[in-house]
Symmetry: C2
Subunit: 481 residues, 2 copies
């Protein structure tokens, strides 16, 4: 609850990490716990996650994907079956070693991702080409016991996500799906969270452990750090080989299928908070906002009754029109206090209604993102609110696009590259795409890495920005969470 | 997929546990894994869970409950804060002791339930009577490392559930909620799963570890074993004391609030399978069925095309009317094979359409639960299907009620009691409600225990059925999962 120290005590532009820490707690989005890196998703944030999951779940069901649930615990032997995969994940696995008072005979990994336990089952389920494609998804918690400094949502040891796992008879069909899902992720970020993202292919050294190749959507946050928003991987036949997944094709010959896996997580919410928030608090795009409108009746002793009554009437009308509303008629807080609280919490629109407004049959509507104030006739309020919510969603996306447009550079030289990274920009650059060079760049820039090789970047020419090898692709670099 | 060994090789009445093991695998409901007691919820079952959660989630949201997510891992010290609670759960906790290659300084419990981690946060969030009631729910996986023989769904080490945790200023309000939620659970079982349940209060020795008292809904399955379907607990002020949750009341005095917790889980699905299944496979009530109708076109070379076309036409019409449909026009299986497959998998209605039916403008509709066959004019098909689905839901519930009515006895003597338990009945009996006596009964009957003290049972008179102490209540006994 917002108590005495109601507002934020730091500006976003002053110290964005302190601002972020304050805003997630004061706006009641997350709560720290006694376990470092494990946090509580409070109702205000969980409602955002519910809206994201509802959107994406409906879209993948249209593609024939079915939801299931696979066990949390993966036996160590199973996790080790695919060698590249286990190398990637073993350093950050949380291990269960004891059940009750009894030591376990084999350690169990708390799933960091579910390829291994799923594909062990897929091998039993898939026998004929008629069993393909197989398209399974699950919405679950996963644990990655990282030792970097945790950041709520963005880098936490436990997070919520969906992981889709699909199996195809033909490589081409699998590869088509990789891009279809990537496009869906783009829509989640752009249409729901109002965050523009950049599609591309991960470089070899940044791809998913065990994948043939990975694709991703990436974005830059106002902290100057990029966020990998979601990934869609083509696994080829590597896991099929390790897990013995094969099928009889139409001619009766035994074949190995092609697999994909893809996921996005609650870190998306962290990006949203960083992107859109301001000095007053969090700003939430209407399509994912837990609360669209707060109606604040301005209460004086003699007119209180009729103003409050009208406020509730308006609230009901809005709710009937599909707008979520809270009528804040608490009489132990001043209107100003309430305005601050709801701005902090990111309610999209504030409707103020005082006795003089009532006389004029109007209300004051204030937009959270711009602070713009409108006097609206009461009989036009529902329509106005609906329009403003749509407009706000669009405007927030436009401003975020603007931010992204202003914060990227094309570096042709190492000097330009270094300056771009120092200025906290996204840096497009011709790159050799080798692991050695990636390591050099990382060291010399204190952490910049290749986010992806954007699909729509110009073809690379000449030499790599860093070394003498020929440039293979235009790469996107930044520091990242 | 259903392969060569398509059907069940055992009758339900012959060997119900072997039948259960076969049906959950052959109907593609669950899959065993390498970790004993941890299973895969396959899409056909997960879809049932989605329908249950959608129903219950909407109902609790009407009551003002909000969803959140609390961490999977609970530090050992936190779990131990409430002494009765930890005694109840410690013997079956899975412990994480290592993160990556590093031993943890404090063991972490994989949540068996979330009272402790939630209430630690509640203590921060609750300060004034204005912060109450607080009503939080989460839909999550939990782990209880039991050492009994696991039974898929019914007794598994990991399961899915919801856990509601609420805090009230007044005891009366908390106690009212306990019963409101219990009534909601009754509706989940009776209206969705077509399973009649018996409401009651748990005996002292069977109550939730740390509760003032527990209430439950219980039912008997055809295996002769009862299932605790869901529980709703009043925790009183015990946890508030242990976790330091207090609030300033309207007079400014510091008070302890009253708490509840309540949950139901995927074990409900196990009860449903046991209850309704038959020798042909699983039977699923229409309101939770992943698939309502399979249309099977009877395909001969010369008429195949028009029959298949019509089958898809009917399929589309049904789907538009909100019925879920699969048109099974696979030509590598005979109609008989398909009939068996869909009966095994529990599709509610089968619509057969052959060329002669087409001439007569009719289809054959077969109900899964009764096998009843109807010839239905095509232009009446949608209405007929909708009516049959509703009727099937009602009939399944009626038959289950009938089963429950026929399988309970009122035992006035120990001899009657023993016979009732031996006959695999629910036994109502006057009981002293002491822990010692419960232990004696358990030993002498090889496992019978008090399910609950049913709310609507007659008042107990005279002596306890087992010992010489006076009877305190009419208790419901059975062996159980």
């Amino acid at each position: 609850m917002v108590k005495e120290e109601q507002g934020l005590t730091v500006k976003k532009s002053q110290d964005i990490s302190e601002w972020y820490t304050q805003v997630i707690q004061k706006a009641e989005l997350a709560e720290y716990t006694g376990v470092s890196g494990c946090m509580i998703f409070r109702p205000r944030v969980f409602a955002i996650w519910e809206k994201l999951t509802a959107f994406f779940d409906a879209e993948i069901k249209k593609l024939g994907v079915k939801n299931a649930y696979f066990p949390l615990f993966i036996p160590e032997a199973l996790l080790k079956k695919e060698s590249e995969h286990v190398e990637g994940f073993a350093p950050e696995v949380a291990w269960v070693t004891q059940g009750g008072h009894t030591p376990l005979s084999e350690r169990l990994a708390v799933r960091p991702t579910s390829e291994t336990i799923m594909y062990d089952a897929f091998a039993k389920w898939i026998q004929s080409y008629r069993d393909l494609p197989l398209k399974i998804n699950q919405w679950v918690n996963v644990v990655r016991w990282e030792f970097k400094h945790p950041v709520p949502f963005l880098r936490s040891r436990e997070f919520l996500w969906q992981e889709g796992h699909t199996v195809f008879a033909k490589k081409a069909d699998a590869e088509t799906e990789v891009l279809n899902i990537l496009e869906l992720y783009k829509r989640v970020f752009e249409e729901m969270l109002a965050l523009p993202v950049i599609k591309g292919r991960k470089s070899e050294n940044e791809k998913f452990a065990g994948a043939d190749y990975s694709t991703s959507v990436e974005t830059l946050t106002p902290s100057g750090k990029a966020v990998q928003a979601a990934t869609s991987h083509h696994l080829g036949q590597r896991f099929a080989k390790s897990f013995g997944i094969s099928f009889l094709d139409e001619k009766g010959d035994k074949s190995l299928p092609f697999q994909n896996s893809w996921g996005f997580s609650t870190r998306s919410i962290g990006a949203m908070i960083l992107y859109h928030g301001d000095d007053k608090g969090v700003v939430i795009p209407p399509r994912v906002a837990p609360l669209h409108v707060v109606v604040v009746p301005i209460m004086f002793d003699d007119t209180k009754e009729k103003v409050v009554k009208k406020a509730h009437e308006l609230g009901s009308k809005l709710e009937k029109a599909g707008v979520s509303v809270f009528v804040d008629d608490r009489d132990h807080y001043t209107p100003g206090w309430k305005f601050n609280e709801w701005e902090l919490k990111g309610v999209c629109l504030r409707v103020e209604l005082g006795p003089r407004d009532l006389d004029k049959k109007q209300a004051v509507v204030v937009r959270r993102d711009t602070g713009k104030k409108d006097f609206v006739q009461l009989d036009e309020l529902v329509k106005f609110v609906q329009d403003q919510l749509e407009l706000m969603q669009k405007d927030m996306f436009k401003r975020a696009q603007q931010f992204l447009a202003e914060n990227n550079v094309h570096a042709k030289s190492w000097k330009e590259f270094e300056k771009g990274i120092k200025d906290k920009k996204l840096v497009y650059t011709p790159w050799c795409c080798t692991a050695d060079c990636a390591e050099h760049i990382k060291t010399q820039t204190e952490g910049a890495k290749c986010l992806n090789l954007p699909f729509d970047a110009p073809k690379a020419e000449g030499k790599c920005v860093k070394c003498d090898k020929p440039a293979v692709a235009t790469a996107l670099f930044a520091k990242s969470y």
